[in-house]
Structure formats: structure tokens, C-alpha cells
Amino acid sequence: MNLRRLFASLLALMRKRRLDLELEDEIRAHLELAERDAVERGLSPEEAYRKARRGFGGIEQMKEEHRDRRSLRWIETLLRDFRYGLASLPRAPGFTAVVISILALGIGGTVAMFSVVDAVFVKPLPFPQPDRIVGVWEAPRPGAVNATTVPQFVAWNRLAKVFSALAAEQPILAALNDKSGPSRIAGKAVTAGYFKVFASGAKLGRTFTSEDDRPGAGPVVIISHAAWQSYFGGDPGILHRRLILDGEAYQVIGVLQRGPFDRDETQFWKPLIFTQDQLASDAHWLTVYGRLNASATLTNARERMRALYAALDETAPMKERGGTIVVEPLKQLLVGSNLHRSISVAFGAVLLVLLIACANIANLLFAQGATRRTELAVRSALGASRGRLVAQLLTEGFALCLLGGAAGIATAWLLIRVATPLLSQSLPFTADVSLNLHVLAFAAVVALGVAALAGVLPAVQASFGNLTDSLKQSARGSSVMHIRVRRSIVIGEVALSLVLVCGALLLARSLVKLQQLDTGIRVENVITMSADLPLGAYPTPQKAVLFYEAVARRLRSTPGVAKAGLSTYLPLEWISNGEAMQVAGAEKLVRVRFKRVDPGYFSTLDIPVLAGRGITNRDREGAPRVVVINQALAAGLRDIARMANPVGKMVRLSSTDYTEVQPLMSDVQIVGIIRSERTSSPGSPDPAVVYVPLAQAPNPHIKLLVRTHEGTASIMPSIRQAVREIDSNLPLGDVATMQQVRDRTLAGASRPAWLIGIFAFVAILLAAIGLYGVLAYSVTQQRRELGIRMALGARPGDVLSQVLRRALVMVSVGLIFGLIGVFALTRVIANLLFEVSPLDPLALATACISMMVIGLLAAFPPASRAARVDPIATLRDAG
């Protein structure tokens, strides 16, 4: 059939009524003409009437043929069943509402979850030719990647021929002063090629050119579309305005197109101009992205970069040699393995819920099929073929699932609206979670799948039973097969629910373990915030030190504040690495991390000093250089330098000075050891940390930690006031309680716990509904039997316990299958657990017992109904 005919057929389908009428007219005209001719040839009117009809042939057959020829017959039938199906839905409003809401839950959840999967894994990155964008890293050892030094980046940019653009970025924070007071906004310092790498254009003005990152270039800035809207109200004259960042005026030269960057926290970009010192330094601090040119593939880019690195290696300092370069597609860099795992498990869980929902729908359709047996039997007696009946039931199921699918899409839309703000923190900024065509197509497939899964079995069952029996009223025996199928469905539901409940309980146990984890600090009543001193207002280290001391003193005298401390890094957060400690006499460098802290830091967090002393007010500029080390480093020194008691020992350190990197410095005395505080999520050992007095090595980026006497809820205004009294232009950012910081660091792996918990709850609910439905049905079916038994002397208590026993048997069988499933899935969930075995007996037992209890609860109403059966009434009723 060609396209034209197909189109004509579909058109005919829509104009069926009119075409039928036209055909009727034609037939009438035809017969009239034939009669007239016959009369003209001398026949009597009666003979002419008969002759005309004889000549014409069978009128009804012709009409059928006409319909067959002009249109697609099976679609016509399908549409009729479909219409019938839709029309029959309001006849059972309760049934329809239950089915549609179950479908809305199941399909909605699955579709919403899929939209996350789609945004993170399926959709190409929202940049032109996204697979050409790569991250370029130095890899000092196999398996480890590191940021890049300026000399390396400059060399790559000059020598690498595989990139059409290469750019380095460094995240920065800046104070923005506007009417509402100082605030901190996130930005990036980037080299000129940055927007060529991402192929992002400007909506207004321009992006960076190679003129902008030359030394001596004027201060310019590009802002995101979102920043343009929120800080400048979308002012079209923005290109004539200046942005005051850290008290310095930057000319706005461009506004980006609306797009992925609006989802990122980065609000502005300024050129990254390397100083002479940076050009010579071997500090690793640049993140490099590149766009492969048209002729380069990932493999040859890797080879070329490796060769280039080897060539550069010969000129590199001794300790830098022997590494290589890693070129990774941006897409892989954006999605960490933790996120990958969380999303996969959550998606798997929601699919289980969908499966349970399917089982429930099948169960309900089954029950409904039973009530319709009489109707079907009548139709079958009137000549409808079995296939025709199955087709009708299937189409009706399909109509139901279509409505459910539509409700599911609406639910998904709602879920996405609600969840996106919560999720966006955990997802890469390139992920745009939305209901797009992919997702809608997926929803359609799911709805069809549900229709097939949930509709086929009841349809076949309803039509294959002995239908003529149904015409007789006493068809009780025929429901044995029926109840058996429904029971197996419920068992399946119980099994699947158990898997989800176990998963949720395991993750919850894991979260509890994380809460109990010793972090080495006191978390309660501590609030933290960050400040970044602008170089304009604090050009020298001395000025910064004065500020630190003033702020700490002022905070301590604030009412409600117990203690206050300053540090360059928060506890439980990552500390940048790259520094080293050298012990006199030992060849080997000990890799360490630096944390600059003021004298109040240890006491604010209740970190005990194990040996020697902490940092005091006397450790300032001019005084002998001292450091405090943590337990982990002390242990490391014992292993590497055979130093039994490091307190009092002199060591050499490499240090980043106030603004730039300095080589190793000598004559630093270790004056104390503190107990290790945790710096990362569980699994990784405590790193070796050196605590340097902030006053001896100031840094403009600091965190403030304040311990209050009671609660942290209402203290922020006084803290802000205190800081404003020292510097009225300095904004405080990243306000978070220590508890929040802790959760952020530790909850990572178990993040889907609450999500799985919700899924498990829905699953239990669905399984309970299924169980209730089956028992209620079988009790209704057995009224007569129950009536006889009670007439023979069975007490209501016996009947009650019999029905409950039946429920327990079903649940137990389901639990056995569920446990098999849990055992099969241990590997999947093990990765998400912290110090909890995937076969944790407590979690498994709790899950089984709660499923039992819920099963009994669902069984109770039908059981008590059974116990209240009036033997005389039932016996009389059954005749």
C-alpha cells in the first residue's frame, strides 16, 4: 500500500459516516435509474423493482466490501473497542479511579526518574559537537589525576595540534556590592579560549579574545544570562555598565546566551592572566578543557598529548617526571561513579515499583474480568469469536493504561517541578531535567508495556474460561483457577516489595551508622561561613592578620557565642594537596596537606591536643615558625623517618605564601600533635595534615567557625553585625551549620536512601491493596462454604483465623521469593552501604516482620467480614 492510499484510508476512516451516507445515495440513485430503464423496456413496476435489485447484486455485501476497500478495517474495529472501553470506565468509577491512580504513581515515578537518567546519561551535553569537548589532566601516577601547572598549560596551548581550542579555568569567589549589601558570587577566571571550547556565544556583546588575557589587559568580565537577569534586571544597556567585584570595577563586555551555564553556580567569567611568578611556578592549580579539532580523535589526541608530555618531561623539575597526560571526554568527567551508582539504583527501584503496580493492575483487571463473565458469555453466545473478545478486553485495558499514562505524565511533570531544585545540587550543571520527546516516548513505551503486562493475562483468562458456564448462575467451581492466578500475582508483589523494603532499610541503617561515625570534632552548635578578603582592601599579609585577630576577638565577645575560630578549610571537607614535609636526615618527602588555623580553631571544634601544645597567640609573624600535626602524620613520620616523638623536631616545608608559591622553607618546629579530624567521606584514610598558624602564613580565603551556647538558628544576624563592625564591605558566604557540612560529606554514598524509602512505602501499599483484594474476593466467593461450616458449628474465631492463616501463607511464600531476590541483588547495593552488610540480619528480619504485619492488617477486614457471615442468610441466598 503506498503512502497516498494509506493517507486516503485514514481520511476515509475519519469521514466514515459521510462516506456511508454518500454510498447510500449512490445506491438509491443507481436502483432508480435501473428501474427506470427496465420500465422503459416494458417491464411492470414490480418486475422492474426486482430486476434492478437482481442486477445490482447483494447490497450489504457490497457495502462491506466498499468499507474494506476504502479504509483500514482493523483500525476501525480497534477504535470502536477503544471507544467502548473508554465509555465503560465511568460505569465503575471506583475501579477506574484506583487503577488510574496506581498507574499515575507507577508510571509517573518511572518517567520522572527516567528524565533524570535521560538528562545525566542519555542526552548529549548541551553544547555544539559535545563529544569533541575533553578534559586534559596531568597524571603523576597511574590512576591519579592532578590539576595542571601554568608552564604545562602554556606549553600545551602552544604545541598541541589536536585542539581547536584549549582553556584553563580557576574557580573564584568575589564580593559583589549592590543595594542589598555585600554578597558573594561564584565566578571563574578563564583563559581566552574558554568559550571556544564550549562553543558558547554571547547574547549581548562578545566573549573573550586573545587580547583579553594578555598581561596588562583592562579588567573585563562576562556574565551569565541568569546573573544578567537577577543582578541587572535584564538591563539592555548592560554593556555600558561596570561590575564592582571585590571593590574593583570590571567592564561588562558580554552576556552569555541563555543555556546550560545558567544552571551552574558560576555567574561571571573574567580573563585569567598569568603573572610572571605563576608562569615559572610548578604549582598544580589549573583545570584544563579542550575542544578536539575536526581531524582529531580521542585516541590520537591521547597519543599526541602523551608524546608532548614526554618531550616536556625532560625539562621538568626532577620530582615531576614520570607522569603522563589523561584526555577524558567531558561527559565522563561530569558524572562521578557515586552519582552513577545512585541513579542506577534509584531507577532500578522505581522499575520495581512499576512492576508491582503492573501486578496490582493485572489483579484488579482480573477481578473485574470475573464480574464481567456474564457479559462476555452473552457476547460469545451471540457469535463473537474468542479472538474478538480477547481483542476487545485488550483494547479496553489499553484505553485504561492510556489514561493512566496521561496521568503518569502529569505526575512526572509535577515530580520534576518539585524535585529539580532539590536534585540540581547533586547533578552536573549540564543536566537539564525536563519532559522532552525522549521522555515522552519512554512514557508511551512504559504505558504500552504496562498495558501488555497487566492486560494480556486477564484478557486471556476471561475469555478462555468456560464461558457458557458463566451463563448459569452456579458457576462457583470455575473460579478456582482464577483465584490461584491472583494469589501468585500477590505473592510476586510481596516478593518485589520485600526487595525494596530491604534496600530502604539497609540504606537507612547505613545512614544511622554514618551519623554515629566519629568525625573527631564536636559538630553540635557550630555554624560556619566563609569570607574572601579582596586584595584591593588587604594588599599585605599584615593587614589580613589584623583583620583575623580583630574578627576573632569581636566574635568571641558577641552575646551567645561561646568560641570562635578561623581556618582555611572546614572540617570534614577536602583539603587541597601538593605540599610536602621533609625531615632532616630522611631522603623521602612526606606528602602533606596544609590547613592554616588561628588559635581558636582546635578549641571551637573540641579537637584534643594529644602531645605538646596547640597554636597560640604568640605564634605570629616574627616569632619562630611552628606547626601542629595530626595523628596520621605523626604515624607517617614514625614509619618514614623513624621519628618516635615528633614534638620539638625541626622540619622543612613547602608552602604557598600569601599570593604565590614559595619553595621549601626550613626551620619549622613541630610543637604539638592533635587527634585526626575527618576530612572526607568514609572509605578513605585520614590524610596527613599540617596545621600552620594563620598569622604566620595568612591566606585571603578563610572560613569562620562559631560555637554558640545554645542553637545556631538565631545567631547569624549578630555574627554579620560583628563582622560588619570590622569591615562593612566584606560579605559572608556559604553559611552552613557544621551538621549540614557533615551531612554533605558523609551522606554522599547513601543519598538515595530517602528516595528508596518512598518507593518502598509505595510498594508496600500496593502489595497490601493486592492482598486485600484477593482475600476480599475469595471470602465473597466462599460465603456459601463459610455459611455451611458455621451452620455445622464453626465459631467466628475459627473462620477469622482461617482467613488470616491463608494470608500468612501467601505472604510467607512471597517473602521466600523476596529473600532470594535480595540475595541475588547484594552486589548492587553493597557499594552504597557504609559498614552495613547487604545481608544485614537486623534489616532483613525487620523487613520480613513488617511485611508480615502489613499482610495481616490487609487481611483483617476481609477476615472479620468472613467471621460475620450469617449462615442462614447465605444458605437461603444460595438456594
Binding site: A29, H30, L33, F56, G57, D68, R69, R70
Partner: protein, 112 residues
């Protein structure tokens, strides 16, 4: 049955209708059916009604079009006429028919 009647060979009704419309111009369904009967000298066993399913199909192919007209009995009826595509199709169908009959004829000659 008194007279020897042949059934229409499968698929040739389209050809007969197209040819009729080519010779006679626009006609209504009854006239087409009568014309086919007359030309075949009443030797064809045709239910007149069977032209209508054929007509709707040919129309959907775009080979004929319909216009409303008034019949001899003063009734509004559809008049069918050939389209340009229909004329082309007629040539194709005639050629196919001739090819087929020639083939069958040759086959019969060789076999006898």
C-alpha cells in the same frame, strides 16, 4: 444459466472502468456499470454494485475524481471522470494487459 457468462478476470474491472471513462467522459456509477455490460455484449457476469468498491479504490489512488451532478431521475449523484494520473495509469494497465495476453497467447501457441 441459459447463456454462457464469463466472470471478469481478477483485477481487470479497474481497467474496464478506466477505459470506459476515457471513451465516454464523465459518467455516474450506473452508467459505468451499464456501459461495461453493453460493451461486453451481456456476456459478462457482473453485479452492477461491484463497480462502487472498485470506484472508491481507484479514486483513492487519484486516477479518477468525482463531481456532483444531477441524474436522469433528478437526483444528486457523483459523476466520475479520469484525472491526468488516471490517463497515464490507463496506458500502463493496457500495456500490462497486452503483455499478459501476448504471453498467454504465445504460451498456448507453443504448447499446441
Amino acid at each position: 444459466m441459459s447463456k454462457a457468462q464469463t466472470e471478469i478476470p481478477y483485477g481487470t474491472l479497474d481497467l474496464l472502468i478506466l477505459k470506459t471513462l476515457e471513451t465516454m467522459g464523465a459518467m455516474h456509477g450506473y452508467a459505468i456499470a451499464r456501459r461495461i455490460e453493453q460493451v461486453s455484449g451481456e456476456s459478462l457476469q457482473l453485479s452492477q454494485g461491484s463497480v462502487y468498491p472498485a470506484l472508491i479504490r481507484i479514486q483513492q489512488e487519484g486516477w479518477i475524481r468525482t463531481d456532483w451532478g444531477i441524474s436522469e431521475t433528478n437526483r444528486k449523484v457523483k459523476f466520475y471522470s479520469l484525472t491526468r494520473a488516471g490517463r497515464k495509469q490507463l496506458l500502463v494497465e493496457v500495456a500490462n494487459w497486452e503483455k499478459a495476453t501476448a504471453l498467454v497467447a504465445r504460451f498456448l501457441e507453443v504448447s499446441t
